[in-house]
Amino acid sequence: MVAPFRRPRGYIQPPARARLAEFAGTEFDAEDMTRAEQAVAKVLTRYPTLLADEIDNLRAAWSAAPDKLTSETVAPIFNVAHELAGYGATFGYPLITILARSLCRLLTMGDLSRQQMSAVVDAHIATLRVIVRDQMKGAGGSTSLQLAAGLDQAINKFHLSAGSERKGRLHDEVTALQATEKPPANNRQ
């Protein structure tokens, strides 16, 4: 049931400090952006093996998962997948973000057995490893589409066995990602 609308008793003006009044009018120009992007690049060079380490953590968390998967028992692996989703594109690997989010969606489907999920989780972990091993940065070209199609098959099989009508959509997501990497038509020579 939808919660009934609660009429505000009135608007409250936060104090000047909370309105950040002394900083009003702050703007960032192209030089600010360049400095900030350079700062990000510098931080990322300090974490060269982070993605590979996180995939190892994912494998370890999945290996430790019990037979009965509930929101509580699945939390350790979900948390690692969730972190990977955040890190992936930060490091220039948007495919990792897409796959990790797919894994998070599967892990939050409800109470399932480890046996039911084993093949689809293993397929995600194996594909994540391939992406890092082969350094498939950006949208990854035709190989990434093949990997996505293969994972979609594993996802569809899992949904079928779980009685769900959902379908894998990784191929579509990777196709959309690749479209964003293409230059605008009027810039093509």
């Binding site: 909370a18 950040l20 702050t26 960032f28 900030a36 931080v43 974490y47 890190y87």
Partner: protein
């Protein structure tokens, strides 16, 4: 005027709440690049609440998935008077949860801005500028206290 933000933001006090050292360092580096000098970092919501009174932040960047206190509970605790000394604190949630129900839940807890990881330098600065230049009034209802929706 390139040096404008550098001088302007040197007094800004920012709290970074994230269990990932890399994400904390990344956001801090972006903000330092535009002149922010005062930071407090915490690896979960509970630690952040404990450190808040002494630090006196102007705003917070906050992750969602953290232990023992997650970002959503942190936001709720900040908005709850009298447990927190600054219930109006602007909070930018920085998370990998991209689906709409999560965004709505964060908004209903009282976040000002929602930023989906991976966060680019551009996106972080855009949210910062938005929080600074578009201060929002707060509303109190029977079941909500926080920034008013932009449509309100």
């Amino acid at each position: 005027m390139p040096a404008f933000s550098l001088a302007k933001l040197e007094r800004l006090r920012v709290m970074l709440v994230d269990n990932s050292p890399m994400m904390r360092e990344l956001v801090q580096s972006v903000l330092q690049a535009v002149g922010v000098q005062h930071f407090m970092t915490a690896r979960d919501g509970r630690s952040a609440l404990d450190m808040m009174p002494a630090f006196g932040p102007h705003l917070a960047f906050c992750d969602w998935e953290m232990e023992p206190m997650c970002g959503l509970d942190f936001v709720r605790a900040v908005r709850k008077l009298p447990e927190c000394d600054n219930p109006f604190l602007p909070i930018i949630m920085l998370t990998s949860h991209a689906e709409e129900p999560w965004v709505i839940e964060a908004r209903n807890a009282g976040v000002h801005e929602y930023l989906i990881k991976p966060a680019t330098a551009n996106a972080i600065l855009a949210r910062l500028a938005s929080v600074i230049n578009n201060p929002r009034p707060f509303v109190r209802t029977d079941n909500y206290f926080g920034p008013a929706n932009r449509t309100a």
